[in-house]
């Protein structure tokens, strides 16, 4: 059979009693799933086209639509399951790599879910964040190992103290959560605006990814981390100067060792200008930086960027969490990075080969734990901040990441979900019904940045409140007292090796 | 300060409202020769057709005069003006002195010199009294047949009313088509056909030469071509002209109507005129001429009121337009809808089987007139394009499309419309 039709992934149930044929679904679906028949004044749906983004279901004014997974099943087989059969069939037809979007969705252990937090009882008091200050402020950047103070007068009065050490450039975060790198191109300008405005409102940062900095985003530069990636798209003097910090992107959790590819169809006039490439050409980010084949090359780029910005802003490096992550991170810190972002296995992407996304890299929980430990053992933990990325889903993930040793976390997928994303994983098609991962003007307007901003701010506010509540419960009133404080964590159902790597005790074990 | 307004219809009422926006105190006196406190003249055909009750013909609430502290003098005609001493002399001899005077005497029906026009059963059709008289005559004489002279708007509205009363009507029109002032052949054709369908005949290129009667009641009309049409009722509705009787041959300048400037003031200070009785700016033709339609009368009255109260406001001019539903077919015509000379471009959609006709007249890239028959949705957008003299080059091809709307217009113009306020027509 030249083309073997596969069971559709979803089925669309339309309650005819409730359907009023208003055609909102017809108008809104970018995949043309629904169609209206004026002769019968009815709407019908073609399930085969449905990607399961739930946009129509969300809009349907009568709740007439339900999108379900198709229960159609192959013969039960633990090895040759439906996904395997479908993938092989697709590849047999196309001869191509399978593409996907968002982060790894395979059921590898999510360590966050096997880690529990502590709380105070009797021996020390918990603190009520509603009544007492609770501090989440975090500084990202290189810290001096020691502070020297000159006492100008023999009397040791504080007013006579003179600082001899100056703090290298820092990013000040009012909550230890930043928005991950997502490029203009992979996401819409409205999505970028939402992130930028929310970062400004909350007092944190968003990251341009390798998409350059659109003119309209310059006004948020004080809350912008700009990325320098292997394609160097959109990198120019003004870009670097506008930024609050610079991040060299070596790798991405969803596709370690793989470059990026923005198809030419998405390179519109605006994107071409922002990325500084011709309209309609593919934007190919090479797998490696072709001027970085070694750690010393990285050092050169770090210092080239520091020189270019006169040592006024932190320069960090983002890597994917791979097997050797601890020594690599150590090398990066020694190469002069002011922060290291570690993107784990479950980090998101706009497009990646499925096989890479689902099989390469390690979970961020383990990566952060081993990197933090390694840097401390080497006595260089102060020299760089650690940002954990890749699959942070909730405030408890945030607080656990910080307790494991991260200074802050990057959230990407969570921020997209806040803006509407339902993880249909079809970002690479450019047909995102939610107006996020698309450049189609018909779709991008669906994301009103005012709403996007509000929802993102709400998310960060909610998470911050929860973090404060949990911190208070532990009797801690400043986030820095939790950072790397693994005594506040306990593992359940983890192997001894996992516990050792995470540097935490099993639940039930006292201090 | 004494404001005096002669006339109690659209302009007069609008003037009261305008004055009261700025001056809540000073005295306003309204003089009307009508017995009713106010009514909407366009509604008389609906009254006659029994679609609107006598109470509903009024367009202002009863306590309007009280609320606005207006002295209302009814059933008393202003007969003379003393411009020097500034007073109005009424039919009963009373003198009403004024500081500012507004003349809104409206229009008067044109009554042709036809032999036999004094027979009972021959009526004009401009006032509520006319309608009431007709109604009474029909009732008393059990009228079954009628002739309407004049296929203009008033004639047709009268026709429609009579048809509602199950009277068989024949329209006699001098021109080659009905509604000739605003409709072209195609538009008229649709209405004529619709009239025909309900048994109403339109005789064009003709007129009444003589009215014959019996026992002082009308019995038949004889047309120009000698054709005889038996009838029990004749309504003469060949048009109206400005009613300038009061000022004729006085110091106030008149032409067909009373001449006013862009502040609705006559050549005499403190004396204003508005509505059907005056000649004000036609912004389309760029001349002064009477435009006897309701919205224009209201607008002019309002402008006059503002200026009388001391707030200088300029009249931007208006142009002819009308909307009426005939035989269940809605129609709208605006501006120069039937240009006769060369130099115009006409866009058309004509579907007589659906009784739909759309016509857009363009001159120098700008729309100067439209006709919509059968489908009038969103007609106001075109009116506003005419008013704002918008260059249509960029969207001309969309003008007749079914989805034509603000979205078809240049973004800047649209934005102004959507977000901003609109100036009045």
């Amino acid at each position: 059979m030249a083309k073997r039709p596969l069971p559709t992934e979803f089925i669309i149930e339309r309650d005819e009693e409730k359907c009023i044929a208003c055609q909102a679904c017809v108008r809104m679906c970018s995949n043309d799933v629904h169609s209206y028949d004026p002769e019968t004044d009815t709407v019908s749906s073609d399930s085969a086209k449905c990607v399961g983004c739930h946009f129509c279901e969300t809009l349907c004014p009568t709740g007439a639509l339900v999108i379900r997974r198709n229960p159609s099943e192959f013969k039960l087989n633990a090895n040759w399951n439906a996904e395997v059969i479908k993938n092989i069939t697709r590849q047999a037809e196309t001869g191509g790599m399978l593409l996907t979007g968002m982060g790894c969705d395979k059921p590898y252990p999510i360590y966050w879910d096997y880690i529990l937090l502590n709380a105070s009882q009797v021996t020390n008091p918990s603190i009520d964040p509603l009544r007492e200050p609770m501090e989440l402020r975090t500084y990202i950047g290189r810290k001096p190992d020691k502070i020297e103070i000159q006492i100008t007068n023999s009397k040791s009065q504080i007013s006579n103290y003179k600082l001899q050490t100056s703090i290298p450039p820092q990013l000040k975060l009012e909550t230890p959560i930043l928005f991950s790198a997502m490029s203009y191109g992979s996401i819409s300008l409205n999505a970028c605006k939402s992130l930028a405005k929310a970062a400004r409102e909350v007092g944190t940062f968003y990251n341009t990814g390798e998409g350059g900095l659109h003119r309209e985003l310059y006004k948020y530069s004080a809350n912008t981390i700009v990325q320098v990636a292997s394609g160097r798209f959109g990198v120019h003097r003004e870009y670097l100067e506008a930024a609050a910090a610079i991040e060299i992107k070596i790798g991405q959790g969803a596709k370690p060792g793989i470059g990026g590819h923005l198809p030419g169809e998405k390179v519109s006039e605006e994107i071409s200008q922002t990325r500084m490439i011709p309209v309609g050409t593919d934007a190919l980010s090479p797998a490696p930086h072709h001027d970085i084949y070694s750690i010393e090359d990285l050092r050169q780029l770090i210092f080239a960027l520091k020189e270019a910005t006169r040592y006024k802003k932190p320069v960090g490096v983002k890597i994917s969490a791979v097997h050797n992550v601890a020594p690599i991170a150590s090398g990066i810190v020694r190469a002069g990075a002011d922060f290291v972002a570690i993107d784990g296995l479950r980090g998101g992407t706009g497009a990646a080969p499925t096989v890479v996304r689902d099989n390469v890299g390690i979970p961020t929980e383990l990566a952060i734990a081993v990197v933090d430990q390694r840097l401390r053992e080497e006595g260089i933990r102060n020299q760089a901040s650690l940002i954990a990325a890749g699959g942070i889903r909730s405030s408890s993930d945030v607080i656990k990441a910080i307790a494991l040793g991260a200074d802050a976390v990057y959230i990407g997928t969570a921020s997209l979900v806040a803006m509407g994303c339902s993880l249909c994983q079809r970002c690479y098609t450019g047909k995102c019904n939610w107006g996020i991962a698309t450049q189609d003007p018909y779709l991008t307007k669906r994301l009103n940045p005012d709403i996007g901003t509000r929802r993102l701010v709400n998310l960060l506010r909610a998470w911050s409140l929860e973090i404060k509540e949990m911190l208070g419960g532990m009797g801690i009133n400043a986030i820095e007292s939790l950072r790397g404080n693994r005594e506040q964590l306990r593992g359940v159902g983890l192997s001894d090796t996992d516990l050792k790597l995470l540097g935490i005790k099993p639940a039930g074990e006292a201090w | 300060m004494n404001y005096v307004i002669i006339g109690n219809s659209a302009s007069g009422i609008a003037a009261i409202e305008a004055i009261r926006e700025y001056d809540g105190k000073n005295k306003i006196t309204v003089i009307s020769d009508e017995p009713y406190s106010n009514y909407s003249r366009p509604l008389i055909s609906y009254f006659l057709g029994k679609k609107v009750s006598l109470e509903s013909v009024s367009f202002q609430e009863e306590d309007f005069y009280k609320d606005n502290k207006v002295d209302l003098i009814l059933n008393n005609k202003a007969t003379k003006l003393d411009l020097k001493k500034k007073y109005v002399i009424l039919a009963d001899g009373r003198k009403i002195s004024f500081d500012k005077l507004l003349i809104t005497t409206g229009g008067a029906p044109i009554v042709p010199e036809i032999k036999g026009r004094n027979f009972n059963g021959v009526f004009s059709f401009t006032t509520l009294s006319d309608a009431q008289k007709i109604e009474k005559y029909i009732k008393t004489n059990k009228v079954k047949k009628a002739v309407v002279l004049g296929g203009g708007l008033i004639g047709l509205k009268a026709t429609e009313a009579l048809i509602e009363l199950k009277i068989k009507v024949t329209i006699v029109e001098l021109a080659d088509r009905i509604l000739s002032a605003t409709f072209d052949k195609k538009a008229s054709g649709i209405i004529e056909a619709a009239l025909e369908k309900i048994g109403c005949k339109s005789i064009t290129n003709n007129t009444i030469a003589e009215i014959k009667g019996k026992n002082s009641k009308v019995k038949e009309v004889i047309l120009k071509d000698k054709k005889k049409i038996p009838t029990e009722l004749v309504i003469v509705a060949i048009g109206v002209k400005p009613n300038i009787e009061l000022v004729k041959n006085r110091a106030i300048n008149t032409n067909k109507g009373i001449l006013v400037d862009n502040f609705m003031q006559t050549n005499i200070k403190d004396i204003y005129a508005a509505g059907d009785c005056c000649e004000a700016k036609d912004s389309l033709l760029n001349t002064n001429r009477p435009i006897a339609i309701w919205p224009v009368a209201k607008r002019q009255g309002k402008i006059a009121g503002y200026n009388m109260a001391g707030w200088k406001k300029e009249y931007q001019g208006s142009f002819a337009m009308n909307s009426v539903e005939l035989c269940g077919i809605p129609t709208i015509s605006v501006g120069e809808s039937c240009p006769e000379k060369e130099g115009y471009q006409v866009l058309e959609y004509f579907a007589p089987e659906k009784s739909i006709y759309k016509k857009i007249v363009i001159k120098n890239k700008r729309i100067i007139g439209v006709i919509f028959v059968g489908d009038i949705e969103r007609a106001g957008i075109y009116t506003s394009l005419i008013k704002d003299k918008v260059d249509t080059s960029d969207f001309k091809e969309n003008l007749l499309k079914e989805d034509f709307g603000l979205i078809s217009l240049p973004k800047e113009y649209r934005k102004h419309l959507v977000t901003g306020e609109v100036a009045i027509l």
Partner: protein, 147 residues
């Protein structure tokens, strides 16, 4: 007064405003009955205009100097003193369509089915926020005080 502000850059063209407007102005105010059980079928008082990817919802702007107010020959069209909204007294309206002729936004329609009267936005009198605004999923129409 508060006005409905149109933000065409965020209108998705879903036309849910029309749906909800229709329901609001139906007899039953029940979405399914309004669509499936009411004759004549109610019509929305809001229009969504679409062309390419641009779209916006449009309803009576309640102009400060409303031409429809001047054009109305029956006094059916009036300004609500309390809210400043331009409303239509349906009992007085006789369907002369003068208002349609002069409305520069084209947002007054003929109520095609039942009594021949004009139909226009009434700002959902009695509701705190007009129903179209409340139900716009993307805040492409907002109800705000306008300077």
């Amino acid at each position: 007064m508060k006005k409905i502000i149109i933000r065409e850059e965020y209108c998705m063209g879903c036309r849910l405003c029309e749906v909800h407007c229709l329901v609001q102005h139906s007899k039953t105010k029940n979405i399914i009955k309004a669509y499936k059980g009411e004759y004549p079928k109610p019509i929305p008082r809001i229009i969504v205009e679409e062309k390419g990817y641009v779209s916006f919802a449009l309803q009576c702007r309640h102009c400060e100097d409303g031409p429809c107010l001047e054009a109305c020959i029956t006094g059916a069209m009036y300004r609500d003193k309390k809210t400043g909204a331009i409303l239509l007294n349906e009992d007085k309206c006789i369907g002369c369509w003068m208002c349609i002729m002069v409305c520069p936004f084209g947002v007054i329609s003929r109520n095609g089915e039942g009594k021949k009267i004009a139909s226009k936005c009434d700002l959902c009198m009695g509701e705190k926020v007009p129903i179209c605004v409340k139900n716009c999923p993307n805040e492409a129409i907002v109800y705000e005080e306008k300077k």
